[in-house]
């Protein structure tokens, strides 16, 4: 019998910054969580810590800006479309190959 799944609380990641010193460790914590942060997958208190860290660490602030720009560009990169002639030619080629198999 399948057990009913229960919601588990999100694991807390290591605290990013409380004392506002910018040791490599805190920047690394942010570095590891950047995608989760911009994809809105982190608990509110961790997001708040990240925002505080960003406000006090210009390097991380600049880095995250370029990271977000990268994701924005990927999301907006268009792909070429098929022409109706290509669509028809491919369909014919697929049917020929399917009959030959």
């Amino acid at each position: 019998m399948n057990k009913k799944k229960t919601a588990t609380p999100k694991k807390r990641s290591k605290s990013l910054s409380h004392d506002h010193t910018h040791s490599e460790g805190r920047c690394m914590d942010l570095f590891r969580q950047l995608s989760a942060y911009i994809d809105d997958e982190l608990p509110a208190d961790i997001c708040e810590e990240i925002r505080r860290h960003l406000g006090a660490c210009p390097n991380c602030e600049v880095f995250i800006a370029s990271f977000m720009q990268t994701v924005t560009l990927c999301r907006h990169r268009s792909a070429p479309e098929l022409t109706s002639v290509d669509r028809m030619k491919m369909r014919r080629a697929i049917l020929t190959a399917a009959n030959a198999r």
């Binding site: 370029s66 990268t70 999301r75 369909r91 697929i94 190959a97």
Partner: protein, 205 residues
């Protein structure tokens, strides 16, 4: 929902189309777009589309509808892509580690992508930026490229991507994060300037 078809004959043909015809008609554009993003060029993308639909036609009778048709086709296309690239290039798969993307100097931290307040559409008028992005994605090891294409470009959820790639959500997120870091480093290291943006302003994709 049925498209608006003018004549009753067109409506009749549309409704009477065979399952394979409908599958092709409804999904070929989606699969071609995905194939082009994975392969990076037209001819390989067309080969991949053909291989995908050939495999799909063979498997259609066994498709029970547990997943969305599009998810099923993405899965077939992804597997076909792995087989085709292995045959063509014998490309070795290598792992990307987070550590290799950690900036080691302030200069590296501060490398920028030349968007300068532009919208993505305006930024893509820069041919060099378009090419740099395409090349960066093409340079990604396959499993990272797939995660990035499916999640950020095709807009699927991490769960769907996991189903397609046969891994859990955690693995999808880990691959996606490394892929984004890789592309960010490639783009910012190219030294594309806003001057290039203005110079190639007339070029559109």
């Amino acid at each position: 929902m049925l498209p608006r078809l003018r004549s009753s004959h067109a409506r009749f043909c549309f409704q009477k189309a065979s399952p394979t015809s409908r599958l092709y008609r409804d999904h070929v554009d989606l699969i071609y777009r995905y194939a082009h993003r994975l392969c990076g060029e037209t001819e390989s993308a067309k080969d991949l589309v053909q291989e995908t639909f050939l495999n799909a036609y063979q498997g259609l009778k066994d498709f029970r509808g547990e997943a969305k048709v599009s998810t099923w086709l993405y899965t077939i296309a992804s597997r076909a892509c792995i087989r085709m690239r292995r045959k063509r290039k014998g490309e070795p798969e290598h792992e990307l580690s987070i550590e290799e993307f950690v900036p080691t100097s302030e200069g590296e931290f501060r490398l920028q992508i030349p968007m300068g307040g532009l919208s993505p559409e305006e930024a893509f008028q820069n041919k060099e930026l378009r090419e740099a992005l395409d090349q960066a994605i093409d340079k990604l090891p396959r499993k990272y490229r797939m995660a990035l294409v499916l999640r950020d470009m095709e807009g699927l959820s991490a769960k769907e991507v996991g189903t397609i790639m046969g891994v859990n959500e955690r693995a999808v997120k880990s691959r996606l994060h490394r892929a984004r870091l890789f592309v960010r480093r490639e783009l910012s290291a190219r030294g594309i300037t806003e001057h290039d943006n203005q110079r190639s302003g007339g070029l559109r994709s």
